[in-house]
């Protein structure tokens, strides 16, 4: 796995989901009004949408946050964690990482 393009979006989504869910006071969610996720053969990873355009990765992470979070700080942390995971996987550069806060509640 030396080239980023060899990592499947599903694998990236799984890893990002795990890492983001490990942040204190954050739950990765499939979405409040619609289902968001990454689809693969016979499997779907809810809450993290990974797509690749011209070898550039785009991520969209949907979370529920604890009310103690300042949301810009939370978004920064989610992006940091996601970037770290993608770098560790060698999956190539992230061109965009959207964060959607679906709800605020005690997690």
């Amino acid at each position: 796995m030396t080239k980023g393009v060899s990592v499947e979006p599903l694998a990236i989504a799984k890893a990002v989901r795990l890492a983001v869910a490990a942040i204190d006071g954050v739950v990765v969610t499939r979405g409040r009004f619609a289902f968001f996720g990454t689809y693969g053969p016979g499997e779907v990873v809810p809450g993290v949408v990974v797509s690749r355009e011209r070898n550039q990765l785009t991520l969209d992470v949907h979370v529920i946050a604890a009310p103690s979070w300042s949301l810009p700080e939370l978004a920064k942390e989610v992006r940091r964690v996601a970037r770290q995971v993608v770098e560790q996987l060698g999956a190539g550069p992230i061109s965009r990482c959207d964060v959607t806060i679906e709800d605020l509640q005690e997690t």
Partner: protein
């Protein structure tokens, strides 16, 4: 509700509407089943309604009218354009992408702050995203014993601080509309 669901409901409403109208017209004797039915199968379904006794006929007419009204209402609701603005608010946009949150979540913050303020019994809020920042409109029901000017001022400050802290967006306006609860109603509701 997504577009597919809306189309499905519109289609179902139309089918129910047309069916109920056909039953009504046949029951009233305005048309023969053969005039309305597009095929023999439909004609067979409609024919019994042309030979109902008066009591059953009255019931059929009443139920058909009720179904027609209900399906028209449903159709109207689904076709009516919804212009409440985007459901999500952009709280940050930079070279890395967007950070958004649901409008409902901001309302939840406002309502929670209101519920934590002494003297507030009930709150309902609305959030608008304007060029100068977020505008929050909050309608609260106050305890009759509360000092309304003091409570509303406290509430304005709490809402502004809380939303700015959580959302990271400037709150340009917090409007509080108060009403005093009837003396018998001392229940605290969110």
């Amino acid at each position: 509700m997504n577009l597919f669901n809306r189309l499905l409901i519109i289609l179902a409403s139309l089918i129910i509407l047309v069916s109920a109208a056909m039953v009504l017209l046949v029951t009233l004797g305005a048309f023969a089943p053969a005039d309305l039915a597009p095929s023999a199968w439909f004609q067979d379904r409609l024919t019994p309604y042309a030979h109902l006794d008066s009591t059953t006929s009255n019931w059929t007419v009443g139920i058909s009218i009720a179904v027609i009204v209900a399906s028209l209402l449903l159709l109207g609701l689904e076709l009516w354009p919804r212009s409440s603005g985007p459901r999500r608010l952009v709280i940050k946009q930079d070279g890395l992408g967007q950070v958004t949150m649901t409008r409902d979540s901001i309302r939840d913050i406002v309502n929670w702050e209101a519920s934590q303020t002494e003297g507030v019994m009930e709150a309902q809020s609305r959030v608008a995203d304007e060029s100068d920042g977020l505008r929050i409109f909050c309608r609260v029901t106050l305890d009759p014993e509360a000092d309304a000017p003091e409570v509303t001022q406290t509430l304005q400050e709490r809402i502004k601080n809380s939303v700015e802290h959580h959302v990271g967006r400037h709150v340009s306006h917090v409007a509080i509309d108060t009403q005093v609860a009837p003396l018998a109603n001392h229940r605290r509701v969110r």
